[in-house]
């Protein structure tokens, strides 16, 4: 294992963070476990592939079209489908998003087949030397994008009226709506924004690596890992989670062998879950921390992590 490997792993973690951010937002604000998140990432990549096949532009530029398109689709899906189910039970949205995952997988298999597809860009085919280390430019791009998106999201959430409304609708929907916050609209916007961030992740993923319809579930699992490591609903934590996954995978891969990387990442995840259920960098009261992770509905699984 070399410093070079760790730096590349850490930067690639930016891509993981980008994949996970939307999942964290939807869960943090809407309390919905979105099983379709992975297929949204993949949808972003496929949309971009369709465009770059027609017009030879840099894949990142396609986001100008893909981002709004995915935003619309996702916001409509939330309004027409998920909105009715949220609050009815915790499990119904889970199954509905699983259905969406199947629909997306079926659709993309039908249109694009099951072989991986990818896009090319000069920034995905190069490396530069920094302090004698060869750093992949694609990893640098991914990390920079992740940092930018995460800072922007955090600023919107903490410094704007819209962000305040979002946070209010997450922490106390009833009070928020009596104060004039339209919860359904907030949820639709959240779902749309989360999906367009996922689409951006997909564009980078599909350029630096590749996508295929069967990646949806692994992508979702990766997203969960990152979200939990960084702390559910904790936006800057997502970057920490992503970097942690990238570094641990690279370190274990170099020291023991890449076969043990996924095992190590998941063992670490379990340990973190047990000692820091709210994520690495959240101060928790030592006894009975109240997790934000569960539905406010008292009839659902109790939420005490003792």
């Amino acid at each position: 294992m070399t410093a070079e490997a760790l730096v590349n792993g850490a930067l690639l973690g930016g891509l993981y963070a980008l994949v996970a951010l939307g999942l964290s937002l939807v869960f943090g604000i809407m309390r919905v476990v979105n099983l379709a998140h992975g297929i949204i990432v993949i949808a972003g990549a496929y949309f971009a592939i369709v465009i770059t096949r027609q017009v030879p532009v840099d894949p990142l530029l396609t986001f100008l079209v893909v981002g709004p398109a995915i935003f619309l689709i996702a916001a409509l899906t939330q309004r027409l489908l998920l909105q009715r189910l949220i609050g009815q039970s915790l499990e119904a949205p889970l199954v509905a998003t699983f259905g969406l995952l199947l629909v997306g997988q079926g659709l993309f298999t039908y249109v694009f087949g099951t072989s991986p597809l990818s896009m090319s860009a000069p920034w995905a085919q190069n490396s530069i030397s920094v302090f004698g280390m060869s750093i992949l430019t694609v990893n640098m791009v991914a990390f920079a994008l992740a940092v930018a998106v995460i800072i922007a999201t955090q600023l919107v959430l903490t410094r704007t009226r819209f962000g305040a409304a979002l946070r209010a609708s997450a922490s106390d929907p009833e009070t928020a709506s009596t104060l004039g916050v339209n919860i359904n609209k907030m949820h639709a916007l959240t779902f749309g924004i989360a999906a367009s961030i996922a689409a951006l992740a997909g564009i980078v993923y599909g350029t630096g690596l590749s996508v295929n319809p069967n990646d949806a579930l692994p992508m979702l699992v990766l997203g969960f890992t990152v979200v939990v490591m960084g702390g559910v609903g904790n936006v800057p934590g997502t970057l920490v989670g992503g970097v942690l996954v990238g570094v641990v995978a690279a370190a274990v891969g170099g020291l023991i062998g890449p076969v043990y990387s996924p095992i190590a990442v998941n063992v670490l995840l379990l340990i973190l879950l047990l000692v820091r259920p709210r994520g690495l960098f959240v101060r928790t009261t030592p006894r009975k921390p109240k997790t934000p992770a569960v539905t406010p509905n008292a009839a659902t699984p109790a939420e005490v992590a003792a």
């Binding site: 990818s118 090319s120 992949l136 891969g253 996924p262």
Partner: protein, 430 residues
């Protein structure tokens, strides 16, 4: 709200009742309507095959379960095409001669979703619901082995291709009874990478990227065993779990080791990640082999980086086959000028072998067909000349192909080559 809910309730109950009624009618009796639906759709998809010449007698049902969706979904359509075209050709020529009566073939196809457990259930349903008297296989040991197990359990002859024969053979300690496999032998296959690399000047140093899937382990071991015999040294080997995305430190290791030959046995998405990492880290080996991943669609997966990537192949115009070129030419527009079309040919040949065995058996009794299949000797097919050995394997010749543009011409052996090997790998030029 109450009203809306009760309307919903009533409509669900009604829908459930209707579907229950539908199922009730379909599950009764031996020739259930679900089976009828299956054969109807299958015969629709192979409708060309039924319009054949003077075939009389009842159709002979051949069943197959193919990975039409799921990770191996890329192999389903060419195999399906090969089976359908062979059935159509045989039916057009009057059908299969069974004890003096010409009988048409009927093909039933089901999706296995690339899932071994689905292979087991669909293969059983081909036998029980569709009354298949013989089975045609799909691709890779994880799908072909459970398929062959069902054949042995149910005592229905089954023939597969596109499944390396040693791995398949090793899965049955007692030896296969009703299942057969017609494809390359891994010992010969893993020698191809060295022999073909000899076509270009290189330092005989090899780096292996293998995954934890069955073939990654087995073939990785064979490359390590055989390298010295061909004058090569394995300077490094890294094993990966499927789904690996970060290859940088291992590419750097391979580059530092100075290996001129890179052999990878990893799944397609991982091979794409590996190729992109090699390109970005400016590592250009003399020959590079994305085995398993580079077989079909590699040009779509990595774009221009695919140029010069080589893999083993199993069909060549001059490998002793009969009529292969015509099948190849008819399919290369759809499945590409390369191994996609070679999948069509392999599948086509399985129908030829099965039809020949049925004729020699003079009956459609599974045991009679099985005995005849085992005795297949020097049968000319579109794939190669086929002789089935006592271990139920028929080993077909191997070659090497290389991605050049959107085609995969044969570069080794010299007497079968259709193009010269490009080196060092052009797609990975810094």
């Amino acid at each position: 709200m109450n009203r809306r809910k009760s309307v919903a309730a009533v409509s669900t109950v009604a829908a459930l009742a209707m579907t229950l009624a539908a199922c009730g009618s379909s599950s009764g009796g031996g020739s259930s309507s679900s089976a009828a639906a299956t054969s109807a759709s299958a015969s629709a998809s192979a409708s060309a095959s039924d319009s054949g010449g003077g075939a009389t007698g009842d159709p002979i049902v051949l069943g197959t379960t193919l990975p039409l969706t799921g990770p191996l979904g890329v192999f389903g359509p060419p195999i399906q095409a090969g089976y359908e075209q062979a059935v159509a050709a045989i039916n057009a020529a009057g059908g299969v001669d069974v004890g003096g009566t010409k009988r048409p073939l009927k093909l039933v196809i089901k999706d296995s979703k690339s899932d071994p457990t689905v292979v087991t259930s669909t293969t059983k349903s081909l036998i029980t619901d569709d009354q298949a008297v013989a089975l045609l296989g799909s691709v890779t040991p994880p799908l072909t082995i459970p398929f062959s197990v069902v054949a042995d359990q149910e005592q229905i002859p089954a023939i597969s291709s596109l499944t390396p024969t040693l791995a398949w053979k090793g899965a049955s300690a007692a030896g296969w009874k009703y299942a057969y496999d017609v494809f390359v032998d891994e010992v010969e296959q893993t020698a191809v990478n060295f022999q073909a690399s000899d076509l270009v000047e290189n330092n005989k140093k090899v780096y292996l990227f293998t995954d934890t899937e069955e073939d990654g382990k087995a073939m990785g071991g064979l490359w390590e065993q055989q390298a010295s015999k061909y004058g090569y040294t394995i300077v490094g080997r890294s094993n990966f779990p499927p789904g690996t995305t970060d290859f940088t430190q291992f590419v750097q290791k391979a580059k530092d080791s100075g290996a001129d030959v890179v052999i990878a046995q990893i799944i397609p998405p991982d091979a794409v990640a590996l190729w992109k990492a090699m390109k970005a880290l400016k590592y250009q080996p003399k020959t590079a082999w994305p085995e398993k991943a580079g077989t079909v669609g590699f040009n779509q997966a990595v774009g221009p980086l695919a140029e010069g990537a080589s893999v083993f192949g199993w069909w060549a115009p001059k490998n002793g086959n009969e009529g292969g070129q015509a099948v190849y030419d008819a399919n290369k527009a759809q499945f590409g000028d390369g191994l996609g079309t070679a999948c069509v040919i392999a599948a086509y040949a399985m129908v030829q072998i099965m039809a020949d065995a049925i004729t020699r058996a003079g009956s459609t009794e599974p045991d009679a067909i099985n005995t005849a299949l085992a005795a297949t000797k020097d049968l000319p097919t579109v794939l190669a000349k086929i002789t089935i050995g006592p271990d139920h394997r028929a080993v077909t010749p191997v070659n090497a192909v290389q991605w050049q543009g959107d085609a995969q011409p044969i570069v080794w052996p010299a007497d079968q080559a259709t193009a010269k090997m490009l080196a060092p790998v052009p797609g990975l030029a810094p």
